[in-house]
């Protein structure tokens, strides 16, 4: 928010808009962000998602302070899942580089790898849920357990949404599109996946420590 306010302030502070000859206002390209609109759209959406997770986390902290909290021991499988998610981000990063350089085969391989790793992560999360439920830790149990399911579900759903875009991109490139036409999609997917990885690291860290 500070970056946004700072930028807005610089665009507005010394301007003299009533003066049509104001040199500041007549600078070519003033106030134009040199970024594709789709990226601005994604970044704005990520601001919304950040707000969502931040609010769930503050609810988590508030609920934690009320007497009946029993910290949950997270299944060890989550460590393996985290590693797989890091691999997925890695794969997307490689794909992004390859798309910029026009390396079709690497793009194809990278996209498939990214998708497979993410699918493995999501499956792993479901298995972790199953492990917890089998040990009696259900959604309507202790609030720590409820929040575990809720937070991991939210993260997983966001990944699933990303998979939709990944799916369309992968289908396009396997149907014969060239790297240039998927470059933007790959870039957007990569940013999104890195973001969700960061969210996961934050979530996992918080769940582990409480």
């Amino acid at each position: 928010m500070a970056t946004v306010i700072g930028w807005l302030l610089r665009q507005t502070l010394n301007a003299e808009p009533w003066n049509a000859n104001d040199p500041l206002e007549n600078e070519p390209g003033r106030g134009v962000l040199e970024t594709d609109p789709a990226k601005i759209g994604l970044l704005s959406f990520l601001a919304v998602v950040t707000s969502l997770f931040a609010l769930f986390l503050s609810a988590y902290m508030m609920r934690m302070s009320l007497g009946d909290w029993r910290p949950l021991t997270e299944p060890n499988l989550l460590w393996a899942n985290s590693a797989v998610l890091i691999l997925a981000s890695f794969a997307f990063q490689l794909t992004r580089g390859a798309a910029n350089r026009g390396q079709l085969l690497t793009v194809k391989a990278g996209l498939v790898a990214g998708g497979v790793c993410t699918a493995l992560f999501l499956l792993g999360q479901l298995v972790a849920w199953q492990q917890l439920a089998a040990n009696g830790y259900i959604l309507s149990g202790n609030p720590a357990t409820s929040f575990f399911y809720l937070l991991t579900a939210l993260h997983g759903l966001h990944l699933l949404g990303g998979m939709w875009v990944w799916g369309r991109t992968t289908l396009r490139i396997f149907a014969g599109a060239d790297t240039e036409s998927v470059r933007l999609s790959v870039e957007l997917c990569t940013v999104y996946w890195h973001y969700l990885l960061l969210v996961w690291i934050g979530l996992f860290g918080l769940l582990l420590s409480t």
Partner: protein
Amino acid sequence: MAYVSIADRDHEVEHHDPTTFISKYVWSQDHKVIAIQYGVTAMFVGLVALALSMLMRLQLGFPDSFSFITPVDYYQFITMHGMIMVIFLLTALFLGGFGNYLIPLMIGSRDMVFPFMNMLSYWLYLVSVIILLASFFVPGGATGAGWTLYPPQAILPGTPGSELGIVLMIASLAVFIVAFTMGGLNYVTTILQARARGMTLMRMPLSLWGIFVATILGLLAFPALFVSAVMMTLDKAVGTSFFMPAIMSMGEGLEHKGGSPVLFQHLFWFFGHPEVYIVALPAFGLVSDLLSTHARKNIFGYRMMVWAILAIGGLSFIVWAHHMYVSGMNPYFGFFFATTTLIIAVPTAIKVYNWVLTLWQGNIHLTVPMLFAIGFIFTFTHGGLTGIFLGNVAVDLPLSDTYFVVAHFHMVMGVSPVLVVFGSIYHWYPKITGRMFNETLGKWHFWLTFFGTYAIYLPMHYLGFLGVPRRYYAMGDTEFMPESAFTLNQSITISALFVGVVQLLFLYNMIVSLKKGKPAGHNPWKATTLEWQTPDTPPKHGNWGHDLPVVHRWAYDYSVPGYHDDFIPQNVPDSAAPSAGDSGSDE
């Protein structure tokens, strides 16, 4: 590759115009059509909420007369009236309606940056409205928990709709939030990236600044509602205890324990307070443009108006608990939030002074839009002043949950922004339809509505001072309520019914003028902003014909000394006209 802005690469992109009836008017991706779809849907559902308020007033004014209004009905009416008006009418109309129509036209672009997502956002909004209205027809009926939906009552028996109604309400809100997020991403990205050449942020009319900041507020605040809605649904459906404490219901202890109802209140109001600014900021922006156009005078203190909008937007995130002074929270929190609430009054007051100063020595044309704009200044000042009463903890304690609060929020949310909605619709009607509305009907509409709403809400403050509680189905026999309070309730009801009927004048005017109105020409108000400079009126798909406009000046070159006309449109080059800054002296 160097970045080329959307405005500069306009001639390289292929523009496809829709051809079939369905793609032009139903599944349309044109922002103007989507805006009208939003507007019509919002006004329809607003009429439903208006009817609900008429029923509520009948019950309050004449408590023993209408046996078909039961207490259960009454609570459902107040809940649905509130939720529809705040979210499904005002938010949808200002952002989905005015935002969609005005943004591309005022910045000089052909359409929104993501037209397909724009179209989706409208249809999802329609789905959310349908889900909401469906809640009336399910077993148990709509929820009667109040628009604030506080747990534990909202999901426990004793509150109407606690089985299905509340679930449908939450589902409808969730769909609305998705729709709104899609729309919001469009508005923000379009304003940032699709402005015409020369249209800097500081040359945008204030309407856009209001809508822009309101959209940002919405994108950041609606998740809080989503969070509280998800958690409350889980408490109801699965038996989690996010908000539900250990509690007895219908004589039996429930499974829940340990949850905190106050947590819901924090989450809800973290959304709820920015929400009222999401309604107010577009109104502030629009009214600035109405005032300056119809007074032929630049808005006084444009930069301060922009910074005030930004400041109000930012501050609106740190005042939420002024809705929670009586919730039992730590009194030091009350102190903090009262302070921030009073601070937010400062930029708001600055805006009021600037509106009045804009009118000062202006060449005021008392057209119908101008009447509504001036009516806004009166009613908003009134409602804002009572907000200062309520913002102070000590004064709020006896006034909380009385009719004083109801009167306050109706003045600032119900009367003043709605006056701006009317004024704006009258103002842009010639642009949207190419015809002028009937002026006499418009003036009758204004005066009857203006005095009528004062007749409703001014006395209501007095009821609040007496201590008459809100959300009561009937007052019954109490010692502190004199006979005059009951008579006052009757008079408020009659005024409300009258004002409700008067709105038919507006509807009639809007519909009949479509066919019978005088053709308006392309700029009947002689306004400077870009939307009035389109080659066609109403604007065609693509808005600008072959070439996008180029902007050379700000939006407020009215009555510039030395120019032959009393307005200079934004796309007139400076070689053809002096600039306000050229007059020699520093003004």
